[in-house]
Protein backbone atom coordinates (compact mmCIF):
# COMPACT_ATOMS: atom_id res chain seq x y z
CA UNK A 1 0.00 0.00 0.00
CA UNK A 2 1.47 3.35 -0.91
CA UNK A 3 0.92 6.61 0.92
CA UNK A 4 -1.87 7.77 -1.33
CA UNK A 5 -3.84 4.58 -0.88
CA UNK A 6 -3.28 4.76 2.84
CA UNK A 7 -4.61 8.32 2.96
CA UNK A 8 -7.68 7.20 1.07
CA UNK A 9 -8.16 4.40 3.53
CA UNK A 10 -7.96 6.61 6.59
CA UNK A 11 -9.69 9.72 5.36
CA UNK A 12 -13.25 8.51 6.14
CA UNK A 13 -12.45 8.10 9.81
CA UNK A 14 -9.59 10.43 10.59
CA UNK A 15 -12.04 13.07 11.82
CA UNK A 16 -13.66 10.48 14.05
CA UNK A 17 -10.31 9.59 15.53
CA UNK A 18 -9.56 13.25 16.08
CA UNK A 19 -12.90 13.91 17.78
CA UNK A 20 -12.49 10.90 20.02
CA UNK A 21 -9.00 12.04 20.99
CA UNK A 22 -10.27 15.52 21.64
CA UNK A 23 -13.07 14.22 23.81
CA UNK A 24 -10.50 12.58 26.05
CA UNK A 25 -7.63 15.03 25.87
CA UNK A 26 -9.75 18.21 25.60
CA UNK A 27 -6.98 20.21 24.01
CA UNK A 28 -7.09 20.56 20.23
CA UNK A 29 -3.31 20.43 19.87
CA UNK A 30 -2.98 17.30 21.94
CA UNK A 31 -5.78 15.70 20.00
CA UNK A 32 -4.02 16.56 16.75
CA UNK A 33 -0.81 15.02 18.04
CA UNK A 34 -2.69 11.92 19.12
CA UNK A 35 -4.38 11.57 15.74
CA UNK A 36 -1.04 11.99 14.07
CA UNK A 37 0.50 9.35 16.29
CA UNK A 38 -2.31 6.88 15.67
CA UNK A 39 -2.08 7.36 11.91
CA UNK A 40 1.66 6.80 12.02
CA UNK A 41 1.17 3.61 13.99
CA UNK A 42 -1.39 2.45 11.45
CA UNK A 43 0.96 3.31 8.61
CA UNK A 44 3.69 1.26 10.23
CA UNK A 45 1.30 -1.68 10.42
CA UNK A 46 0.73 -1.21 6.73
CA UNK A 47 1.36 -4.82 5.68
CA UNK A 48 -0.86 -6.41 8.27
CA UNK A 49 -3.73 -3.95 7.83
CA UNK A 50 -5.54 -6.22 5.39
CA UNK A 51 -5.95 -8.80 8.09
CA UNK A 52 -8.31 -6.60 10.07
CA UNK A 53 -11.96 -6.62 9.25
CA UNK A 54 -12.40 -2.99 10.12
CA UNK A 55 -9.40 -0.70 10.09
CA UNK A 56 -11.63 1.95 11.58
CA UNK A 57 -12.30 -0.12 14.70
CA UNK A 58 -8.58 -0.76 15.06
CA UNK A 59 -7.88 2.94 14.73
CA UNK A 60 -10.50 3.78 17.34
CA UNK A 61 -9.08 1.22 19.76
CA UNK A 62 -5.58 2.56 19.22
CA UNK A 63 -6.79 6.10 19.79
CA UNK A 64 -8.54 5.11 22.99
CA UNK A 65 -5.45 3.34 24.30
CA UNK A 66 -3.08 6.07 23.26
CA UNK A 67 -5.17 8.83 24.87
CA UNK A 68 -5.68 6.92 28.09
CA UNK A 69 -1.93 6.35 28.27
CA UNK A 70 -1.34 10.02 27.69
CA UNK A 71 -3.74 10.92 30.45
CA UNK A 72 -2.13 8.44 32.81
CA UNK A 73 1.36 9.79 32.23
CA UNK A 74 0.09 13.36 32.56
CA UNK A 75 -1.47 12.55 35.88
CA UNK A 76 1.60 10.70 37.07
CA UNK A 77 3.77 13.72 36.38
CA UNK A 78 1.20 15.98 37.99
CA UNK A 79 0.67 18.09 34.94
CA UNK A 80 -2.71 19.40 34.07
CA UNK A 81 -3.59 19.68 30.48
CA UNK A 82 -3.78 23.27 29.50
CA UNK A 83 -6.32 23.96 26.92
CA UNK A 84 -7.54 27.12 25.38
CA UNK A 85 -9.91 26.33 22.63
CA UNK A 86 -11.30 29.63 21.66
CA UNK A 87 -13.53 28.47 18.91
CA UNK A 88 -14.42 31.10 16.47
CA UNK A 89 -17.83 30.26 15.23
CA UNK A 90 -19.76 32.81 13.27
CA UNK A 91 -21.97 34.73 15.61
CA UNK A 92 -25.31 35.56 14.20
CA UNK A 93 -28.74 35.62 15.64
CA UNK A 94 -29.34 35.88 19.34
CA UNK A 95 -30.70 32.34 19.29
CA UNK A 96 -27.50 31.06 17.83
CA UNK A 97 -25.46 32.66 20.55
CA UNK A 98 -27.72 31.17 23.18
CA UNK A 99 -27.54 27.76 21.57
CA UNK A 100 -23.82 28.02 21.53
CA UNK A 101 -23.81 28.83 25.19
CA UNK A 102 -25.94 25.85 26.16
CA UNK A 103 -23.91 23.63 23.86
CA UNK A 104 -20.85 24.66 25.81
CA UNK A 105 -22.65 23.48 28.91
CA UNK A 106 -23.41 20.12 27.40
CA UNK A 107 -19.79 19.85 26.33
CA UNK A 108 -18.63 20.66 29.82
CA UNK A 109 -20.96 18.11 31.36
CA UNK A 110 -19.75 15.41 28.99
CA UNK A 111 -16.15 16.30 29.69
CA UNK A 112 -16.80 15.86 33.39
CA UNK A 113 -17.99 12.30 32.92
CA UNK A 114 -15.68 9.37 33.71
CA UNK A 115 -13.43 8.45 30.79
CA UNK A 116 -15.25 5.31 29.83
CA UNK A 117 -18.62 7.05 29.72
CA UNK A 118 -17.09 9.88 27.74
CA UNK A 119 -15.86 7.39 25.17
CA UNK A 120 -19.23 5.71 24.92
CA UNK A 121 -21.19 8.94 24.59
CA UNK A 122 -18.73 10.12 21.97
CA UNK A 123 -19.02 6.97 19.92
CA UNK A 124 -22.75 6.43 20.31
CA UNK A 125 -24.38 9.83 20.48
CA UNK A 126 -21.96 11.80 18.38
CA UNK A 127 -20.47 9.29 15.96
CA UNK A 128 -23.61 7.15 15.83
CA UNK A 129 -21.79 3.85 16.01
CA UNK A 130 -23.58 0.55 16.61
CA UNK A 131 -23.24 -1.15 19.97
CA UNK A 132 -21.31 -4.11 18.59
CA UNK A 133 -18.68 -1.79 17.14
CA UNK A 134 -18.39 0.15 20.36
CA UNK A 135 -18.05 -2.99 22.41
CA UNK A 136 -15.26 -4.14 20.11
CA UNK A 137 -13.38 -0.88 20.42
CA UNK A 138 -13.70 -0.81 24.17
CA UNK A 139 -13.23 -4.55 24.63
CA UNK A 140 -16.39 -4.71 26.74
CA UNK A 141 -19.58 -6.67 26.30
CA UNK A 142 -22.58 -4.96 24.76
CA UNK A 143 -24.71 -5.00 27.85
CA UNK A 144 -22.02 -3.23 29.85
CA UNK A 145 -21.79 -0.59 27.12
CA UNK A 146 -25.56 -0.06 27.25
CA UNK A 147 -25.56 0.27 31.01
CA UNK A 148 -22.69 2.76 31.00
CA UNK A 149 -24.36 4.71 28.21
CA UNK A 150 -27.64 4.89 30.06
CA UNK A 151 -25.83 6.05 33.17
CA UNK A 152 -23.97 8.74 31.23
CA UNK A 153 -27.14 9.96 29.51
CA UNK A 154 -28.98 10.16 32.80
CA UNK A 155 -26.11 12.10 34.31
CA UNK A 156 -26.22 14.56 31.44
CA UNK A 157 -29.98 14.89 31.88
CA UNK A 158 -29.66 15.46 35.60
CA UNK A 159 -27.07 18.18 35.20
CA UNK A 160 -28.96 19.81 32.37
CA UNK A 161 -32.14 19.84 34.42
CA UNK A 162 -30.28 21.55 37.22
CA UNK A 163 -28.97 24.29 34.99
CA UNK A 164 -32.33 24.51 33.27
CA UNK A 165 -34.35 25.09 36.41
CA UNK A 166 -31.86 27.16 38.37
CA UNK A 167 -30.40 29.02 35.48
CA UNK A 168 -26.83 28.76 34.35
CA UNK A 169 -24.73 29.40 37.40
Amino acid sequence: MNQKEFMQLVSPFKDKVFRLAKRLLISTEEAEDATQEVLVKLWNKNESLDEYKSVEAVAMTMTKNYCLDQLKSKRASNLTIVHSNFTDREAGLQQKVEDNDTWKWVEKIINDLPEQQKLIVQMRDIEEMEFDQISKVLEMNEQAVRTALSRARKMIREKMTNTHSYGIG
Binding site: M7, E107, D125, I126, R153, M160
Partner: protein, 149 residues
Protein backbone atom coordinates in the same frame (compact mmCIF):
# COMPACT_ATOMS: atom_id res chain seq x y z
CA UNK B 1 -44.42 13.72 14.71
CA UNK B 2 -46.64 12.40 17.47
CA UNK B 3 -45.61 13.73 20.83
CA UNK B 4 -46.27 10.56 22.77
CA UNK B 5 -44.02 8.68 20.39
CA UNK B 6 -41.23 11.17 21.06
CA UNK B 7 -41.82 10.89 24.77
CA UNK B 8 -41.53 7.13 24.57
CA UNK B 9 -38.36 7.44 22.54
CA UNK B 10 -36.85 9.84 25.05
CA UNK B 11 -37.69 7.38 27.80
CA UNK B 12 -36.04 4.56 25.86
CA UNK B 13 -33.14 6.81 25.00
CA UNK B 14 -32.20 7.33 28.62
CA UNK B 15 -32.32 3.60 29.23
CA UNK B 16 -29.84 3.14 26.40
CA UNK B 17 -32.28 1.08 24.38
CA UNK B 18 -32.88 3.19 21.32
CA UNK B 19 -31.49 2.18 17.94
CA UNK B 20 -29.38 4.47 15.79
CA UNK B 21 -32.42 5.16 13.62
CA UNK B 22 -34.51 6.16 16.61
CA UNK B 23 -31.76 8.38 17.91
CA UNK B 24 -31.57 10.07 14.53
CA UNK B 25 -35.31 10.64 14.76
CA UNK B 26 -34.83 12.29 18.14
CA UNK B 27 -32.06 14.47 16.76
CA UNK B 28 -34.27 15.66 13.94
CA UNK B 29 -37.13 16.32 16.30
CA UNK B 30 -35.00 18.37 18.68
CA UNK B 31 -33.45 20.35 15.87
CA UNK B 32 -36.88 21.47 14.70
CA UNK B 33 -38.40 24.70 15.93
CA UNK B 34 -41.52 23.30 17.59
CA UNK B 35 -40.23 21.29 20.51
CA UNK B 36 -42.76 20.68 23.27
CA UNK B 37 -42.26 22.87 26.32
CA UNK B 38 -41.47 20.08 28.75
CA UNK B 39 -38.91 18.57 26.38
CA UNK B 40 -37.20 21.87 25.67
CA UNK B 41 -34.44 21.09 28.18
CA UNK B 42 -33.11 18.25 26.00
CA UNK B 43 -32.76 20.46 22.98
CA UNK B 44 -29.18 21.59 23.64
CA UNK B 45 -28.06 18.02 24.31
CA UNK B 46 -29.13 16.79 20.89
CA UNK B 47 -28.08 20.05 19.33
CA UNK B 48 -24.62 19.60 20.74
CA UNK B 49 -24.39 16.02 19.49
CA UNK B 50 -25.12 17.09 15.94
CA UNK B 51 -22.78 20.03 16.14
CA UNK B 52 -19.91 18.05 17.68
CA UNK B 53 -19.90 15.71 14.72
CA UNK B 54 -18.99 18.57 12.41
CA UNK B 55 -15.54 19.11 13.83
CA UNK B 56 -12.79 18.09 11.49
CA UNK B 57 -9.16 17.19 11.67
CA UNK B 58 -7.50 19.96 9.75
CA UNK B 59 -3.83 19.51 10.54
CA UNK B 60 -1.71 18.06 7.79
CA UNK B 61 -0.78 14.44 8.20
CA UNK B 62 2.81 13.41 7.99
CA UNK B 63 3.52 9.75 8.24
CA UNK B 64 6.62 10.17 10.32
CA UNK B 65 6.38 9.95 14.04
CA UNK B 66 6.77 13.20 15.88
CA UNK B 67 8.24 11.32 18.78
CA UNK B 68 11.17 10.21 16.68
CA UNK B 69 11.76 13.80 15.71
CA UNK B 70 11.78 14.76 19.34
CA UNK B 71 14.29 12.04 20.09
CA UNK B 72 16.44 13.32 17.24
CA UNK B 73 16.28 16.81 18.73
CA UNK B 74 17.57 15.50 22.04
CA UNK B 75 20.31 13.65 20.27
CA UNK B 76 21.49 16.83 18.58
CA UNK B 77 21.51 18.67 21.89
CA UNK B 78 23.60 15.91 23.42
CA UNK B 79 26.00 15.97 20.48
CA UNK B 80 26.40 19.74 20.77
CA UNK B 81 27.21 19.40 24.47
CA UNK B 82 29.84 16.74 23.77
CA UNK B 83 31.49 18.89 21.08
CA UNK B 84 31.54 21.91 23.36
CA UNK B 85 33.05 19.95 26.25
CA UNK B 86 35.77 18.63 23.94
CA UNK B 87 36.64 22.08 22.63
CA UNK B 88 36.69 23.49 26.13
CA UNK B 89 38.89 20.69 27.39
CA UNK B 90 41.52 21.09 24.67
CA UNK B 91 41.50 24.86 24.86
CA UNK B 92 42.03 24.64 28.61
CA UNK B 93 44.89 22.19 28.23
CA UNK B 94 46.62 24.30 25.62
CA UNK B 95 46.31 27.61 27.41
CA UNK B 96 47.19 26.60 30.97
CA UNK B 97 50.69 27.29 32.34
CA UNK B 98 53.20 28.55 29.82
CA UNK B 99 56.13 26.17 29.97
CA UNK B 100 59.04 26.86 32.27
CA UNK B 101 61.72 27.67 29.67
CA UNK B 102 59.67 30.43 28.03
CA UNK B 103 59.74 32.62 31.14
CA UNK B 104 63.25 33.93 30.57
CA UNK B 105 65.84 34.15 33.32
CA UNK B 106 67.85 37.27 34.17
CA UNK B 107 71.24 36.45 35.58
CA UNK B 108 72.56 39.97 36.41
CA UNK B 109 71.11 40.89 39.86
CA UNK B 110 71.06 44.64 39.07
CA UNK B 111 68.97 44.23 35.95
CA UNK B 112 66.80 41.76 37.79
CA UNK B 113 66.22 44.32 40.57
CA UNK B 114 65.27 47.02 38.04
CA UNK B 115 62.95 44.73 36.19
CA UNK B 116 61.29 43.75 39.43
CA UNK B 117 60.86 47.38 40.43
CA UNK B 118 59.34 48.14 37.07
CA UNK B 119 56.91 45.29 37.42
CA UNK B 120 55.93 46.28 40.94
CA UNK B 121 55.47 49.92 39.86
CA UNK B 122 53.17 48.77 37.13
CA UNK B 123 51.12 46.78 39.58
CA UNK B 124 50.89 49.58 42.16
CA UNK B 125 49.88 52.07 39.46
CA UNK B 126 46.98 49.91 38.45
CA UNK B 127 46.02 49.26 42.04
CA UNK B 128 45.99 53.02 42.71
CA UNK B 129 43.67 53.80 39.82
CA UNK B 130 41.26 51.44 41.48
CA UNK B 131 41.66 53.01 44.87
CA UNK B 132 41.18 56.59 43.59
CA UNK B 133 37.60 55.92 42.73
CA UNK B 134 37.09 54.30 46.09
CA UNK B 135 38.25 57.55 47.74
CA UNK B 136 34.99 59.18 46.70
CA UNK B 137 33.30 56.93 49.15
CA UNK B 138 35.11 58.83 51.90
CA UNK B 139 32.94 61.84 51.03
CA UNK B 140 29.89 59.91 52.13
CA UNK B 141 31.54 59.02 55.38
CA UNK B 142 32.40 62.67 56.02
CA UNK B 143 28.96 64.02 55.30
CA UNK B 144 27.44 61.23 57.31
CA UNK B 145 29.61 62.18 60.24
CA UNK B 146 28.49 65.80 59.87
CA UNK B 147 24.85 64.88 60.07
CA UNK B 148 24.90 62.08 62.63
CA UNK B 149 27.17 63.32 65.32
Amino acid sequence: MALDRIEKLVEKYFEGETSIAEEKELKTYFSSTDVAQHLEQYKPVFGYFSQAKQEQFTATISLKSKRKQKRLAWLSVAAAVVVMVCIGFFAYQNSSEPTQENLGVINDPEIAFRETQKALALISKHVNTGIESVNYLGEYQQSKNKIFK
